[in-house]
Amino acid sequence: MGLEDQAAVKRVADEHGNGVVVLLGTPDAESTQTLAQTVVAGDPSYAGPLAGVPLGLPVFHVFEPEVRDQVPADVYEAQVALMEMSLDREAILAGLREARRAGATA
């Protein structure tokens, strides 16, 4: 995640406190893991404003069934469905599960 984006996430998380969740639209397992790790445990590259800052935010992906089921079907179809068909959904969600496991044991 870019340095300016990290700063924005940190500012918003600080402003809003515990009620904040992160919803990802990442295209592969690696980017999913990296972004999830950044907002849970801190910047893995130790370069940005979130270096050493474990925000511990709950992280979800827009492809997860529990997310999809809450979005009106026509909205999901228009905004997400095409990308969901063209990307490796299972790999992305496996990457998210791995990031959650790592976060839980950190």
Binding site: D5, L23, G25, T26, P27, L35, P72
Partner: protein, 42 residues
Amino acid sequence: MELRGKKVIALGERDGVPGPAVAECASRAGAEVVLTLTACYV
């Protein structure tokens, strides 16, 4: 996890689902979107 009533940071990506599309899903599910970003890795 119920999105309704939650504050959501929408972190999209150019090669995946862009931030505004993630944000639209979250807001239509009843969440309040507090930040929308679209990462771009080249």
